[in-house]
């Protein structure tokens, strides 16, 4: 497991993030004062029971929800500070972030290749460039021969690999994956986790993976745990025990 990255190498610097749902009696602190830094090429796992706040933290970092407090910088750009979003959220997302979820969430009316192409065309890449890169990525992820198939004709594993290809299409600084292996068997799940590691290292992107799957923890550079909205680094010894 790598040491904490230097600030200059950091692709993500999130500090003191807090997210509170509801108010008064119904107030729920989903994320409490969470601080997380991810370096370029680093793969980080977020563990924790259901309702611990992992997915919420991911949506805060992914600029899907706004935190109540804290600061987020991605790739050196401050995107959230002083309770305000500092960038055009959609533009920033399409240029710098990649998302993978438990469900592949591919657009059902587009083929595998078109799903990947779309991510690039949304980001104003020419169609020809997008077509070439989509083919390269799908080949790279081992689903090149399924490029012209609709999602409904792909297996769960194939769909998830297409979703990863889509997330990588725009060469994002940071990839956010929310339980990407939950719908896959252990072999496929491990393949996807290893894929993240490969991509992170080869493309120098940071990857944060929310997972319940303790079998593939050795893939990650660092592991964090969340409990009741509080984020802390996982205990190495305990972690090793789990892995064994």
């Amino acid at each position: 497991m790598s040491a904490l990255p230097k600030k200059a190498d950091a692709v993500l610097e999130a500090s003191h993030l807090t997210k509170i749902y509801g108010a008064g009696h119904t107030e729920v602190v989903a994320v409490s004062d969470a601080t997380l830094t991810v370096a370029c090429g680093e793969v980080v796992a977020l563990l924790g029971p259901s309702g611990a706040g992992k997915s919420t933290l991911l949506t805060l970092i992914g600029l899907i929800l706004s935190p109540n407090a804290g600061r987020i910088a991605i790739g050196g750009t401050v995107v959230f500070d002083n309770n305000r979003t500092q960038v055009n959220v959609r533009r920033f997302r399409r240029q710098h972030l990649g998302f993978v979820f438990q469900k592949a969430n591919l657009l059902p009316f587009l083929t595998a290749a078109e799903n990947v192409r779309l991510a690039m065309e949304i980001n104003d890449h020419p169609a020809r460039t997008a077509t070439r890169r989509a083919a390269e990525l799908l080949d790279y992820l081992g689903v090149g021969e399924r490029a012209d198939h609709l999602p409904s004709k792909l297996s769960g594993g194939e769909q998830q690999r297409v979703a990863v290809a889509r997330a990588l299409a725009n060469r994002p600084n940071l990839i956010l994956a929310d339980e990407p292996t939950a719908a896959l068997d252990s072999v496929r799940g491990r393949q996807v986790m290893e894929l993240f590691r490969k991509v992170a290292h080869e493309q120098n992107a940071g990857v944060i993976v929310v997972t319940h799957d303790h079998r593939a923890l050795d893939v990650f550079d660092r592991t964090f745990e969340m409990e009741d909205g509080v984020l802390h680094a996982a205990d190495n010894a305990k972690q090793q025990g789990v892995v064994q």
């Binding site: 997915s55 399409r94 009316f109 949304i122």
Partner: protein, 403 residues
Amino acid sequence: MNLAARDIRHNFGRFVLTTIGLGLLLMLVMGMGGIYRGLVQDATLLVDRIDADLWVVQKDTRGPFAELSRVPANLEDRVRAVPGVLSSRGFISTTIQRERNGQPLRMTVQGLSWPQDRGQWLPIVAGRALGQAHYEMIADESLKQPIGDKVRLGKDTYTIVGRTRGMTSPTGDSMAFFTLHDAQAIQFDLSGEAIRLERSARYERAKQIDLGRSQPQVIERSRGPSSGIPALGPPVISAVLVKVYAGFDPEKVRAVIAKWPDVSVYSSDGQRQLLVSGMVDKSKRQLGMFRTLLILVSGIIMALILYTLTLDKLHDIAMLKLMGARNGIILGLILQQALLLGCLGYVVAYVVGQWVFPWFPRRVVLTQDDMWLLGGVVIGISILASLIGIIKALRVEPNEVLA
């Protein structure tokens, strides 16, 4: 990449069925407009074709089509004496319904002033114009009687010698053209017993007056047909059609005849206006209301269809937003589908209408102006109908992908 086209490709069957359904609805809208145009054309057909500059009718009536008009037959001669008049001819128009081979035979009888008017101006598609003073008729093909067929009307039998196309009356009945005298015979035909009773009554009345006693010939004439009794007989033609000399101002002739206290006179345009503003007006408003409702219904149905299509895609739209897609991409997806649906529906309406409308009992006339207007309306309702879907789509939050 065109997402709308890709989505349609994916849901092709549903899109096709939806388009056909919408197309049939638009066909009804198109048909309503066509029926209205047909009504106007039917109403003004004869006025437009008969080549008359002026129509002289019974005083204060809007005859002969808008209402009943009766003028004496000798009016034709009086009119002919007006300076500037090239020709005048009597005209009869009356609708009859008889039974033939167990089927109703309904037609508008038009009497033409033989021998000047033989119906040569009619759009005869088979056969010929009238060739003799009696017992011949020209029938419209919508009457479905072949040339050479003999039709008994009243006490006489008429041979169909010519067929016209598209000659229907303002009420949609097929027109049949006879000589004026034959038309009168058909119009005033009475049963033998009715004639006997009428003659007998006339005879008794004539005997009781001084004139009858002093002029036995009057009593004799009273035994003859009503139309043959000068002055005492009822006016027996509907109108007199006037043609003025080329270069002569019809308005001058009209001004002269308008001073006569027993008749009213209209120009062809005036007669046309009477028909359009009188006879067709209520039908026009009725059809207009119905058409507006149909457009409204089409708009609502389109909005529902597009809204449902959008609801089906909410998750995908949330994903698009999560990926950073601009609102324009999402808006384009819905709007393009709406416009494609509207435009293809319009094409379906036109194509199916071309096939279906000729089977309608009344004429359906599609004019280019109406088609452009409806096209514009369809684009308008497509855009309006897509608004609900667009609003819904724009309100979708990207975090709904996680739901």
